[in-house]
Symmetry: C2
Subunit: 358 residues, 2 copies
DNA sequence: ATACTCAATGCGAACGTTCGCACGAACATT
DNA sequence: AATGTTCGTGCGAACGTTCGCATTGAGTAT
């Protein structure tokens, strides 16, 4: 159709010989009409190629069918391995229910951040929010709770805050890693982790310690290296760990993400270790590249696709039933992907753990 | 404010003692009022914390101030190094001009794809589109041109299509790579590239060949390996290349992305080559991890941040001036990042090429 | 027959803006 | 003094829906 004129309800109604309000009701399934009438209406809709005007619809119904999402940008020079998958799964899940995702920019300044959220809410542009990279004392959570505006978070925050969230059980992931290493005979296990402010880090550390305790291994403070989650830190920390006197030297290094693990691998190799057999190194995230590194990296895969779907579905449920409150955290179990960096046993590339999601 | 009641134009107007239409005009800068009146209006706006209702605004003005964007999902198991940066830069650039980005799901089926675009357009939800991963005969381009609906593409398509686009000059990137290798004395240069259908591949191949011609090196068909852009292909192809008889064996391998380059590095190392000194291997994309691989990878960095900003700004210009047609392709020059994989000369990590963008 | 329900449709009024024009007053121009 | 011109403001209408009730006519129980 070249003419930019779009059909409206009224034109459909005229063609079908009913009032336009009736057409509206039929399209929204709010009324049951005799088959003949309804058929006429649908024919008219087809004939005119009618598509409801979304703006008018949301003006009147006060529902924008739009979900706001914003994520912290990855520090330059770092890859965000889960962003694409999370975004795709959310966008798809949303579309299946007639929603779209609206992206807005991250705002480091707390003052402006509030303003950004306020504007999005009060302009009526969105029905709810999805938050990611949630931390302690998260101002976004406080603001949305104060405004009683619907949202679902990816990640937990302070335990005393009550809000709907989905999270990956990072502690369980670490526990699986430690169990795996213990099973292979390791007793001196070091960790490359984040500073204690990090909420994600705290959960993972808890799981890590639980794993040690299960195995009756007392934690050693010298074996907890804390820093930024980049290869350079993993590299430096590993040089330090492997410079300890022989009796105090760890035989396994558990990195809290793949980037640190890669740095650790580099350091160990540089010092002449055969990674996998002489020292075990593990990561976390199962970055797509993890299977291709040398040696391939044992890591923990997060079911991101599922997280995205659940976030969206939970939010939409919340929007449809504002009365039902469900301020609990759904935990999802991650998967341990064992490769040569912790075992020394190489698996052929084409037999590496396949990805299950589309 | 606990009561979900938001202030409207009328309430602001009552407080300021003018008609609500006047307030509207002031807010939109469509009229110049005496300072006193205008001040009263702004005070009222402040006092009531007024934020215009976006839906009502776009219903009347027929402008949604929303840009639709959709991207091809990364094949599972592959990282999309540029997604985060592109998205962030577009979202930020859009917000600066009062626009937001609406994400919608990729649709492989061409029938449904048309339908998805049609619905987005005819429901009045968006003002324009940004396309990425553009290919030859791209159905999205054809449809949007047919509908005369505003869009800007990241990437070129058939030369006979006339539409506004931004692209990175991949050919120039390859040319820089080849010049660099030739300068270092290489004459036998192989390429790991995509199948000929790939539009991006074609541009890069052109640059690659131009580089050879410049140096007076005749292209050798056996040195062009075509396959999927994953490490596994780079690995296999490199095994083949290095199994050629000595006189026919390349001394440099130019991979058309970093993933293939990593596979190539692995293969070469496995065959006992010292990558960098005995064989040069280069990538393309400058994946964040490229500086951390062993050896660090020479690659071509794409100015993605700039691309995102230009895409958005160009589209908004188009929306504001529908009369001015500008169906040309803006080319942006990529940057060659030289590291040890092509020179054998390691640079310290902290002196590696910094990222310039926020 | 009368009142009573129910299904099928219609109608007027919002929703909160922007648009286009009109109006009155002040001021400059003939 | 009559006539334009500009400025500041107001007014009614429209944008395309959904909402809530009102209305009609047919069927059913009293």
């Amino acid at each position: 159709m070249n003419p930019p004129k779009r059909a409206t309800l009224k034109e459909v109604a005229r063609l079908a010989g009913v009032s336009y309000q009736t057409v509206s009701k039929v399209l929204n399934g709010q009324v049951q009409l005799p088959a003949a009438t309804e058929a006429r209406i649908w024919e008219a809709v087809q004939a005119l190629n009618y598509i409801p005007n979304h703006t008018a619809r949301s003006l009147r119904s006060r529902r924008s069918h739009t979900i706001a999402y914003c994520w912290a940008p990855t520090a330059t020079g770092q890859a965000n391995p889960i962003l694409d998958e999370l975004l795709q799964s959310m966008v798809q899940a949303a579309e299946r229910q007639g929603y779209y995702l609206l992206c807005f920019p991250n705002q480091p300044d707390p003052q402006r951040l509030r303003e950004a959220y306020r504007e999005l809410i009060d302009s009526g542009r969105v029905d709810g929010f999805i938050l990611s990279s949630v931390e302690y004392e998260d101002p976004r959570i406080l603001y949305l709770m104060e405004r009683r505006f619907p949202f679902v978070a990816f990640g937990r925050s302070n335990p005393e805050y009550q809000f709907p969230s989905i999270d990956i059980d990072g502690g369980l992931g670490m526990l699986k890693v430690v169990r795996h290493l213990v099973e292979r005979g390791h007793r001196r296990i070091a960790a490359l982790t984040w500073p204690p402010e990090s909420r994600v880090g705290a959960n993972r550390i808890a799981g890590f310690l639980q794993g040690l305790i299960e195995a009756g291994i007392p934690p050693v403070p010298e074996w907890m290296e804390r820093g930024e989650g980049v290869p350079a830190f993993g590299y430096q920390a590993t040089l330090r760990l492997l410079a300890l006197p022989e009796s105090m030297r760890p035989t396994a290094i558990v990195a809290f993400n793949d980037a640190m693990a890669l740095g650790a691998v580099r350091a160990a190799q540089q010092l002449g270790y055969r990674v996998g057999s002489e020292i075990a190194i593990t990561g976390f995230d199962d970055t797509p590249l993890a299977r291709y590194t040398i040696p391939p990296l044992t890591s923990v895969r997060q079911p991101i696709w599922e997280v995205g779907e659940r976030l969206v579905n939970r939010l939409i449920t919340l929007l449809d039933h504002p009365d039902i409150s469900s301020p609990y955290c759904e935990l999802i179990e991650p998967e341990l992907i064992i490769r040569a960096s912790s075992t020394g046993e190489e698996i052929p590339l084409d037999q590496d753990h396949p990805y299950l999601y589309p």
